[in-house]
């Protein structure tokens, strides 16, 4: 399996399309952090630091700045990077005729998918580490804030969460490359699933909640109506990896954020000022955050394992011949 991982890694880092999407992600992230950093500097110079006590550094990642926050950006574009790495991993080799050759060598079939999966995961980890270090450096130099220990730990947990999240997408795209013989079809299927999970499920969640828990007067809902609405909406978010990811990342990096996150999700709305006003001091401690996100991370891991089992099942049953 080492040989497979080695070769796949070399392929990833040598492939133009991976380098392209990487530079895209890096450029946008850089831009977001730069603009956010500017806003933070402004607020700091106006003496607004009371609100920011011990949280300034994290704001770099969560504040909406001019466009939208970095976490939101990663929740949407992280999956795309995974898809680019995985959508043709098996079917390209099948069409090329190299798959039957590899499988005629003394290796197990699951080593092939596991090797490709791990190589993709390593690539993602390298990319994310580089990205976060770069942005942290930008924060240190550009804004001049030093992260507290608490903040560093939260960012590390966020790193783990993001890897698990992108790992899920990687597994999903490898699964598609096994199911679909044509590379074009698996690319389309991956794009469709991406749009569905990222953009459609949240809307569906709200629609389902309104349908199942109608409010008499939407402008002034009763407390009970609100909780049922929220519960249904949450339940649907829970089965969506993207929902889990945004929820957990906001718990980790945005600890002062109270209650539910209706305003936060997928909409490009807040100004930094408004953001600060609505998020008061206090919030949850690091250990509390940790306990809160563990179930989400486990759920995401569960999703990844399901995609892997499905991949394995499909791959082992499949005929090896190319046509």
């Amino acid at each position: 399996m080492k040989a497979i991982i080695k070769k796949e890694l070399a392929d990833h880092f040598g492939s133009t399309r991976f380098l392209l999407i990487m530079s895209l992600v890096f450029m946008v992230s850089f831009l977001i952090t730069h603009l956010t950093g500017q806003s933070i500097r402004e607020v700091l110079s106006q003496g607004g630091s009371a609100f920011l006590e011990g949280r300034t550094f994290l704001l770099l990642f969560t504040a909406t700045g001019a466009f939208f926050s970095l976490t939101l950006f990663l929740s949407i574009f992280g999956p795309l990077v995974s898809i680019v790495l995985g959508f043709d991993s098996i079917n390209r080799e099948r069409n090329l005729g190299t798959l039957s050759k590899i499988l005629a060598q003394p290796i197990h079939r699951d080593e092939v998918i596991l090797g490709k999966y791990l190589a993709g995961l390593i690539t993602l980890a390298i990319m994310l580490t580089a990205l976060m270090l770069l942005l942290a450096g930008l924060g240190l130099v550009g804004v001049g804030v030093v992260p507290t220990f608490d903040e560093v730990m939260r960012l590390c947990l966020f790193w783990v969460l993001s890897i698990v999240y992108m790992g899920f997408w990687l597994g999903l795209s490898i699964l598609l490359s096994i199911y679909f013989r044509s590379v074009a079809t698996s690319a389309m299927a991956a794009a469709a699933l991406w749009i569905f999970i990222i953009f459609f499920v949240p809307v569906l969640g709200q629609a389902a909640a309104s349908a199942m828990a109608p409010m008499n007067d939407p402008s002034r809902p009763t407390a009970r109506e609100l909780t049922t609405y929220n519960r249904i909406d949450k339940a649907i978010t829970m089965i969506s990896p993207a929902g889990l990811y945004t929820q957990s990342s906001s718990i980790l990096l945005d600890p002062t954020h109270r209650g539910s996150d209706q305003s936060f999700r997928y909409a490009l709305m807040n100004q930094l000022d408004r953001y600060l006003l609505t998020h008061f001091q206090g919030g949850i401690t690091l250990s509390q955050s940790f306990i809160l996100v563990i179930p989400d991370i486990l759920l995401l891991l569960g999703f990844s394992i399901i995609t892997f089992i499905l991949s394995y099942e499909a791959f082992v049953r499949q005929e090896v011949r190319s046509v």
């Binding site: 005729g97 039957s100 005629a104 003394p106 005929e319």
Partner: protein, 312 residues
């Protein structure tokens, strides 16, 4: 190589069965592709697997490698069951698929290295140069495969099969898409594998005159059923036909499914399948070399198409 050769001959005495299939059957849904195939292949022989398209040749090979599971029946390859111990079988058997692919952006050397690593071979570098020498691709070793001609790819495929130093090789249509000169070199190469490397070869083809040139024994397959097996001489005796595979073949198919003869002059050196050992000493040139000499003998072949690929 002689050392390895000796070991092998101790393990599998020449002529003793090295592959045994008993009532081997493969169904795809209700469709029977291989139908109760009972056949043994002997150590050190070149066995020609003949049959029209869709006869089930490739499917049989895949079952021998454990890449496809038999619906019923048993297989033993080197005494091992490919269903239960596929890895052991695959480390001793080389398989050249009918449409073997390569990583186009990697060089010949890198492609070989990957195969060697998947086989967990040691001393990879020297093995690579050894097999590249053998198939006469030394000069093209660092070229990307996308710049390779069909003949060079086929030879690289042969190198990839041989790098693991197998005991058995399965060659599925190894001459597919080659020009007459390329076919000749390939066949001359194949014919020496048993005597020089102690290999057992199964050669699949629907082009019977090619099989006729190199095979010690042939098996004729149609719709998954083995119609006949044995040396051409045995088959001739059985059927009372002249000692000619073509006549035997058309006897079984009654004229149907007979391919058009390619305009390749049959190399007379190789025409007699029983003298495999002697031909080996005559032709020591590696694969791909000596094409120019043979060109004169091949003046029936289409002119102008021939290219000497080793000069790319």
């Amino acid at each position: 190589m002689p050392e390895a050769l000796r070991e092998r001959e101790l393990e599998y005495e020449k002529g003793s069965p090295i592959i045994e299939m008993v009532e081997l059957t493969k169904n795809y849904g209700r469709h029977t592709v291989v139908d109760h195939l009972t056949l043994s292949i002997n150590s050190g022989e070149i066995f020609g697997f003949l049959g029209p398209n869709g006869a089930g040749k490739t499917t049989t090979l895949l079952m021998l490698l454990g890449l496809s599971l038999p619906t019923s029946g048993t297989v033993k390859v080197l005494g091992l069951d490919p269903v239960k111990e596929p890895l052991k079988v695959k480390s001793k058997v080389g398989y050249m698929a009918e449409n073997m692919g390569f990583y186009g952006d990697m060089s010949a050397k890198e492609n070989l290295k990957y195969v060697a690593e998947l086989n967990k071979l040691s001393d990879v570098e020297s093995k690579i140069s050894e097999v590249l020498e053998m198939v006469d691709l030394k000069e093209a070793a660092d070229k990307p495969i996308s710049a390779f001609s069909r003949g060079m790819r086929q030879r690289l495929g042969m190198a990839e099969v041989l790098i693991k130093d197998p005991q058995i090789v399965f060659l599925d249509e190894p001459t597919l898409g080659l020009d007459p000169a390329g076919i000749n070199t390939m066949l001359n190469f194949i014919v020496r594998l048993p005597s020089e490397r102690g290999l057992t070869v199964i050669l699949c083809s629907h082009l019977l005159h090619l099989v006729n040139r190199v095979a010690h024994r042939v098996g004729i397959l149609q719709k998954g059923r083995l119609l006949a097996q044995g040396s051409v001489k045995d088959l001739a005796e059985k059927t009372g036909l002249p000692d000619d595979l073509e006549a035997i073949y058309s006897h079984f198919f009654q004229g149907e499914g007979l391919e058009e003869k390619e305009s390749v002059a049959i190399d007379k050196n190789l025409d007699e399948p029983k003298d495999k050992g002697d031909t080996a000493s005559e032709e020591k040139a590696p694969l791909g070399r000596g094409e120019s000499q043979r060109e004169e003998e091949n003046n029936k072949g289409p002119q102008g198409e021939k290219e000497n690929e080793s000069h790319h």
